[in-house]
Structure formats: structure tokens, C-alpha cells
């Protein structure tokens, strides 16, 4: 059977199940007796086994099979979960991930048998209380313990196959089959309600059954099933030489099957005269698959039991997978549209009064449509960071073992959404920061106890949205960064001179850590400390137009704060004029705009500041930063744009305000290495290029 078309589904689902396993193993480690967890692990392992089997990945199937066996025993309370076992399970998980990666890359599982893991699992099975029948019980476990066994008593309403009405042709075919010594079964299969590709599942069920028998009739019809025109169940009449158990097993080997109900159908054997006509009759029966008889019976027969469920479409969100490149194209087109719209707006302004109200109305309408369009496209590209951070709990657990430190990871805001391209890139830097925190940040348990801290160190990752940016904080409650040590090291390395060090603020010294090849760890470990780290983190974040900041307190821990722009392509901006040149400032970073008299500007440490409703705000003369003459006279009132970055404020002095505009961010190209204060360029309605000021770099 050609399964390649299901490879993608297989990979997606396998990854999901591996994640479930990973999560559940973590819980299991804390609560070895949690029956829900144990059941969940058993189910995931079982499903994985089934999927791997269907796809023909034998090694993966073997490993999951043994994991399943062990858990079957755990469920029966014959084996107790302990530390080494959880370790073993995690190793199995790594092996499974390896298989999955191999399959994803080469569509082959590789040839690592992982014998040692399988042997270790077997040892657990054999080590348990020596019951002679244990092996047999394990074999039977998937079937005996699976959910359907409980359902036997109430299977009457669910075994819908008995509502299939058989026409004369079918009766003849069945009769002939029975005459030949075959058995006839009715089968009703329930697909899990979370299943997205029901038709594919049904197809796999059909395939599985056809390997051991023949499907005479299905309800809904084969065509309807293919078109996904069924709720969550479908029934069939099957002729087979195998027994009921084998049939059930075959169906349950397909993943995402909730349950299956089977029963024997009593059919009078056909008269011997029928034998000669068999081929013809059979062909007729098959042609009659979507027979009118079956269709007619559908209405009446199906509705009765289906009433308790919501009729119609499933509640699961309907989704489409789209290549990210197609979204990029869409995004570019939206950008072009916005530029065209801006041109229209500026053209209409130049035309002056002649244009009527209707024209302006339409332009305003166009404006709201393009804005909504842009937002929708952006939303399509947004994904929660969950996909990236969900692998961290396991990583921290592994680190905790490796480093002999007790570490808890606290995460919040996993649902925070970011542009897809950013989420793909952010994983490594975050992982690096977490490793750093666990390795360098946290002290060893005995040091922690000496310092009166809880033995267990905390590493945290918090994500949240702040205006137009997303903030991700990664930190620990460990030692914090020793500024003096950094200073010493920096002087040793010749990064700075002793005199420079004298004049540097602690904050600046800490920032030296972001320089290439700078590691303060006294011991170089496997995990971090080779000096390739923070600088890579910083350049990665900066390439995403974001920034990193460190806050640290010796003895109490440090926090790395990453700020990333929510959108990469189109922003709302305030257009200003400085020295006759036009610049854009992202609206997201602007707090207020103030008209300040010259007398209100005070000097503190030779720097200009103003008092903004009780807060002292430093002022930045933009014309000086941009090295251009201001068009304002020395005694004019100052136009101050108050911008914020985190909790810091600054006032930018500009010449004129031009208004708010939606702008498309364009890169300045690689040839001009970004001037620090310019984050990009945009094209205005009249075709002129205006530069975008990076206020974060100014503060």
C-alpha cells in the first residue's frame, strides 16, 4: 500500500504524540501514581505503535510496542514507576525522536535498532512479580484494556451496522460467502472527534479490512466517506475468513480510531446453484456499492442514534496548510497595495478642492479595507510561541540531571503570538539563554543552601505583548552576574582599558557579555561556556529587529529581556520633519507629543531634560543626532515626542509633525550597513523615500 501521501500526517501526529509523551513523563516523574498520566502514556504509545506499524516503520513499532507493554503492567499495578524507569522512558523518547527526524529527512526510519532500550524495557517486564501468564497478559493488553472493552455493555446503540439494510443482491453475495465457509460481520467504527482527516482514517480502515476480507457494503456509501460526508462513525458489512478479534485488531491498528463494534450477521447459506453465478453477482454487488437501497436507508437509519450528537459539521476548526512562501507573496502584494493607496491619498490632497466628497469617502473606505486586509494577513502569519517553548521543560530536566542541580522551569505566556518567521528563529536564542541560566546562573545546591536560598533553583521564561512589541524574559534566581568579575576579565582580555572601566556604568559592563568570545564561566562545561553564546543570541535577535537587555543583581539572579517587533512589514507611523527631511517614527513606541516652551528645558549634568508631569525625561535633539540644521529658531517652542522603551522615556525634539500614516518597512539593503538609529526605509505616497527612526536605539 502506498503510504507516502500520509507521511506528512504521520509526522505531524507523531510529533504531537511525542510531545504528549514528553509532557506526561514530566508529570509522571513528579506523581508516579497518577493513573490519568499512566493511561495517557499508554494510549500515546499504543497509537504511535499503530501508526508506525501502518507506515511500515518496524523499528519504531518495536520500541513503542515494548513501551506500551511496560505501561500496560504499570496500569495493572504490577510494576511501579521509579526514577531509573523515567530516565529510561526519556531515552526511549529521544530514540523515537531520532526515528522521526530520520523519517522526516529521508522518509526512512534509519537502522538504529536501539536494542539496549528494548532490552532494558524487557528487563522491567521480566523483573516484575513472576506471574507465569504475564507475557500473555501483556500481549492481550491493548485489546483487553483499550477503551472499547468497557463499551461492550452499552454497545447496542452504538453498533449501527445492524441498521444497514441489505438488498437482494447483497443477501445473495453474503449467502454465497457463508456457503463457502466464510463469516459475515457487521462493523461500526468510531473515529475520534478530534480527528481532522476523517476520510483518510476511513481509507486506512478500509485498507486494513480489505487485507483480511472484503467489504460488501458500507454506510454511508464509500463515495460519501471519501468526501468526508459522515459524522464520526461509519458501518460496514464485511466478509472474511478471519475471526472477530482479528478484524477488531485490524481496525484498531489505525490511529485516531475511538472504538469499534463488531457482531456476527446470520445469513442463510445460498443454494448451490448460486455458485456458478457468483462472479457475476459479485460484480453486481460491488457496482451497487453506492446502491440506491443503501442511500435510501441512510436517512432513517442514521438519524435515530445520531440525534444525541450535534448534527452537521464537527466543531473542530477547519484548517488549511499553506506554504509560508505563499503568505510572503500575499504580504508583499498587500504592501504594494498600501503604497498605491498612499499615493492615491497624497494625489487627492494635491488635487485640492476639486475632488468631491464621494471621492474622499471612497479613499477612506479603501483605507479601512487595506488596513483590515493587512491585519488579516498578519494574523494568518502569527503563531503562538508555544511550538518553540514546549520542548524546554524536557531540556531543563535533562540539564538538571547533567549539572546535578535541582531546577524548576516556570513558564508563562506560551500563548503569546509572533510572526511565523520570528517564531522559527527565536528557538535557539531562547534555548541558549535558558541553558546559560541553568548552567552559569544557578548555583550548586549546597551553595544555595549556604546562602539561605531554597535548594531548588528556578529558571523562568515569561512572554507577553507590550504595545507593538512582544517581550520575552528569560532568567533565574541564581547568582546574578558578578560585575567586578566581568570587568576584570574584560581588562585582562584587553576589551577595555582599566581607565575605561573606571568610567563605565555597571550596566555597560554587563553588556560587554554580548561581545563575541566572552565567557565568564570559570569551568567550561558541555552546556555552555565556550564563549560562543551571548553574542550569537544578540546578533540573532537584532537580525529580527529585536533587542536584548540584561538586568542582574549579584546574589539574586539575572533576567534577559528580549523585545521583538510584533510585525515585520507594515506599521502605523508618525511622520515628522527634521531639518527639512522626512522621518517616520513607529506609533507603537510613542507615548505622547508635547509642546514645550524653551524655559521648561533644564540642564542636569549638562544634559537637557524636561519635567513631564513629575517625571524627569531626557531630551534628544534629533537634528544633532542626524547631523542636520534645524529649521526652527533658537527661541521657538520645542516639539517633543515622548517615546518609551520598557519603562524608560525620552523626548525627541523634532521640527514639524506631518501626521499619521501606515508605512511599509523596506530594508536599506546590505550595502548600507544599518546606521544604528535608522531601522529601515519606507516609500511615501509621492514616491519619495523616508527613513524610519529606531527610537529604541536612541534611548
Amino acid at each position: 500500500m502506498d503510504v507516502t501521501q500520509y507521511l506528512e500526517i504521520f509526522l505531524d501526529e507523531t510529533k504531537e504524540h511525542l510531545q504528549t509523551l514528553s509532557d506526561q513523563f514530566m508529570i509522571l516523574e513528579q506523581e508516579p501514581d497518577n493513573m490519568d498520566t499512566i493511561n495517557e502514556i499508554f494510549r500515546s504509545a499504543h497509537t504511535l505503535k499503530g501508526m508506525a506499524g501502518t507506515m511500515g516503520y518496524k523499528r519504531m513499532q518495536n520500541l513503542t510496542h515494548d513501551m506500551e507493554n511496560v505501561f500496560s503492567e504499570v496500569r495493572n499495578n504490577t510494576i511501579k514507576v521509579d526514577g531509573p524507569m523515567v530516565d529510561l522512558l526519556f531515552q526511549c523518547l529521544d530514540a523515537l525522536e531520532e526515528y522521526t527526524d530520520n523519517i522526516a529527512n529521508t522518509s526512512d526510519e534509519g537502522d538504529n535498532e536501539n536494542d539496549h532500550l528494548i532490552k532494558a524495557l524487557k528487563d522491567y517486564l521480566e523483573g516484575k512479580s513472576a506471574e507465569p501468564a504475564a507475557e500473555a497478559a501483556t500481549e492481550a493488553a491493548p485489546e483487553a484494556a483499550a477503551p472499547e472493552s468497557a463499551g461492550d455493555s452499552d454497545s447496542e446503540g452504538k453498533a449501527k451496522w445492524d441498521q444497514i439494510k441489505l438488498g437482494d443482491t447483497e443477501n445473495t453475495v453474503l449467502g454465497e460467502a457463508v456457503a463457502q465457509g466464510k463469516k459475515v460481520f457487521g462493523v461500526t467504527v468510531y473515529v475520534q472527534e478530534s480527528c481532522i482527516l476523517k476520510a483518510a482514517r476511513a481509507f486506512l480502515v478500509f485498507k486494513a479490512i480489505e487485507e483480511i476480507g472484503e467489504i460488501i457494503l458500507s454506510q454511508p456509501s464509500a463515495q460519501d466517506i471519501e468526501d468526508e460526508k459522515f459524522d464520526f462513525d461509519f458501518s460496514m458489512i464485511v466478509i472474511t475468513e478471519s475471526d472477530e478479534e482479528t478484524l477488531k485488531k485490524a481496525v484498531m491498528s489505525v490511529s485516531e480510531i475511538e472504538s469499534v463494534y463488531t457482531g456476527v450477521i446470520d445469513v442463510e447459506p445460498a443454494e448451490s446453484a448460486g455458485v456458478a453465478e457468483e462472479p457475476k453477482e459479485k460484480a453486481a454487488a460491488q457496482a451497487a456499492h453506492p446502491a440506491p437501497g443503501a442511500d435510501a436507508s441512510k436517512g432513517g437509519a442514521k438519524n435515530a442514534p445520531a440525534d444525541k450528537k450535534a448534527v452537521g459539521k464537527p466543531v473542530v476548526n477547519r484548517t488549511v496548510r499553506v506554504d509560508i512562501e505563499k503568505l510572503d507573496v500575499l504580504m508583499n502584494l498587500v504592501s504594494e497595495l498600501i503604497i498605491a493607496k498612499n499615493s492615491l491619498v497624497s494625489a487627492s490632497m494635491q488635487e485640492g478642492m476639486e475632488t468631491g466628497g464621494a471621492f474622499n469617502e471612497q479613499i477612506e473606505y479603501l483605507e479601512s479595507v487595506t488596513t483590515n486586509l493587512h491585519e488579516s494577513v498578519m494574523k494568518v502569519r502569527m503563531v503562538p510561541i508555544e511550538n518553540v517553548v514546549q520542548k524546554f521543560p524536557k531540556m531543563i530536566r535533562d540539564l538538571s540531571k547533567q549539572l546535578n542541580k535541582k531546577i524548576v522551569l516556570k513558564m508563562s505566556g506560551e500563548e503569546t503570538e509572533l510572526d511565523r518567521t520570528v517564531v522559527d528563529e527565536i528557538g535557539d536564542p531562547l534555548m541558549h539563554l535558558l541553558r546559560n541560566s541553568a548552567d552559569h546562573g544557578l548555583e550548586t545546591p549546597d551553595v544555595r543552601l549556604q546562602r539561605g536560598k531554597p535548594e531548588e533553583g528556578t529558571v523562568f521564561l515569561n512572554a507577553y505583548q507590550d504595545g507593538n512589541t512582544v517581550v520575552i524574559e528569560v532568567g533565574d534566581d541564581g547568582n546574578g552576574i558578578d560585575v567586578e568579575a566581568v570587568k576584570k576579565k574584560a581588562i585582562e582580555r584587553g576589551t577595555i582599558t582599566a581607565e575605561q572601566a573606571e568610567n563605565m556604568e555597571d550596566k555597560d559592563i554587563v553588556n560587554l557579555l554580548f561581545l563575541p568570545s566572552f565567557s565568564t564561566a570559570k569551568v567550561v562545561t558541555d552546556i555552555s561556556g565556550r564563549g560562543v553564546g551571548l553574542d550569537v543570541v544578540k546578533s540573532k535577535i537584532e537580525s529580527l529587529s529585536g533587542e536584548v537587555d540584561i538586568k542582574t543583581k549579584l546574589g539574586e539572579g539575572s533576567t534577559f529581556t528580549i523585545r521583538l517587533p510584533l510585525t515585520l512589514a507594515i506599521i502605523q507611523a508618525l511622520m515628522v520633519e527634521i531639518g527639512g527631511e522626512k522621518y517616520a517614527i513607529s506609533l507603537g513606541s510613542i507615548q505622547t507629543i508635547e509642546d514645550v516652551a524653551k524655559s521648561e528645558v533644564k540642564l542636569v549634568e549638562n544634559k537637557e531634560v524636561m519635567n513631564l508631569r513629575g517625571t524627569v525625561v531626557p531630551l534628544i535633539r534629533m537634528n544633532r543626532v542626524l547631523s542636520i540644521e534645524s529649521t526652527k529658531g533658537p527661541d521657538d517652542n520645542l516639539l517633543v515626542i515622548i517615546v518609551k522603551k520598557g519603562d524608560k522615556l525620552a523626548g525627541l525634539i523634532v521640527d514639524e509633525l506631518m501626521g499619521q500614516q501606515e508605512i511599509v518597512i523596506k530594508s536599506l539593503g546590505k550595502y548600507i550597513n544599518k546606521s544604528k538609529i535608522i531601522s529601515g526605509a519606507t516609500i511615501l505616497g509621492d514616491g519619495e523615500v523616508a527613513l524610519i527612526l529606531d527610537t529604541n536605539a536612541l534611548i
Binding site: 547631523s627 539593503g669 514616491g687 519619495e688 527613513l691
Partner: protein
């Protein structure tokens, strides 16, 4: 073997088209394969705090492209914008586009390798490091300095 000979012969007399441009009285040639477009002088937006030979950026059909003054880069007098001033849009091997200010675009000529004399890099003049050779145009009895595009624009400029 014969084939190889053929190819060598072809290479020897390979014809290359050059766009001939003028800075003051001197003429330069740019291999046409690098030239994406030639546009009239248009509004250039200054980029603050970058090297002096980067004149700014312009909008070419929705793309933001940096504009370079080769005059300043080669240590000549700064550009004087006249009616004949053009911006040649050059596509570098890295895929980036840049615009180069020229006093005037004269014509396109064909030259084969026999007409080109390679220059050494021992010359102390800045200009020489931007050239890969000098072409002899017998027709008009003049010498054309051929610009080595990758040596001239290949390096990335760092903002101050």
C-alpha cells in the same frame, strides 16, 4: 582537443559590451552584464551618519536602493548635478542593487580581450584599484578605464 582549441580561440576574441560613462574628461567602461537600468537623476534621500560617498537612497519601482558617488569614492571632485547626470543601477553578484552617479552616459561599445590591457595593482593612485584594465578604442583614438565592479562595490560599507 580540437574542441578545447576552439573554445580557447573563442575566449580570446570574446566580445564584451561596455557602457561608456564620463566623469569630467575621463571615460570609464562598465561591463553591461552588471547594468540593470539607467535612470535620470531623481530625488535621493540622505541617510545620516554613513560614509561620505553614500549619497543616500532612492526609490526604484518600490525598491529602496542606495546611491553611491564613485567620484568621492575614487577621490575625484564631488559630483555636480547637471542635465546629463544619470544613475546607473548595478546588480552586484551578491544580488543587491546599487545606484551609481555618473556625469554622463556616452554609448555602448564592443571590445574583445585583445583590445584590453590589464593594469597592475602597483599604482599608487586610488583609481587604479578600481580598474581591471584599460581598453583601447582605436576608432575614436581614446583609452577607456574599465571598472572592476566587484572590487569597486563588492565590499560592504560600514556606517560610522
Amino acid at each position: 582537443m580540437e574542441e578545447i582549441m576552439d573554445i580557447q580561440q573563442q575566449e580570446e576574441f570574446e566580445q564584451v559590451q561596455y557602457i561608456v560613462i564620463r566623469y569630467g574628461d575621463e571615460v570609464f567602461g562598465i561591463d553591461i552584464k552588471y547594468v540593470d537600468n539607467i535612470v535620470r537623476m531623481q530625488r535621493i534621500t540622505r541617510v545620516p551618519n554613513v560614509a561620505s560617498h553614500i549619497k543616500g537612497v532612492l526609490n526604484l519601482r518600490g525598491e529602496v536602493i542606495p546611491v553611491i558617488s564613485l567620484r568621492i569614492k575614487m577621490g575625484l571632485e564631488p559630483d555636480e548635478i547637471t542635465k546629463t547626470t544619470r544613475i546607473i543601477i548595478i546588480k552586484l553578484e551578491s544580488g543587491d542593487s546599487i545606484g551609481v552617479l555618473v556625469d554622463e552616459v556616452l554609448e555602448v561599445i564592443m571590445m574583445d580581450s585583445s583590445q584590453i590591457e590589464k593594469v597592475g595593482y602597483n599604482s599608487k593612485e586610488t583609481i587604479a584599484s578600481f580598474l581591471f584594465g584599460v581598453g583601447k578604442d582605436q576608432e575614436r583614438d581614446r583609452l577607456i578605464s574599465l571598472l572592476d565592479i566587484n572590487a569597486t562595490f563588492g565590499d560592504k560599507e560600514v556606517a560610522v
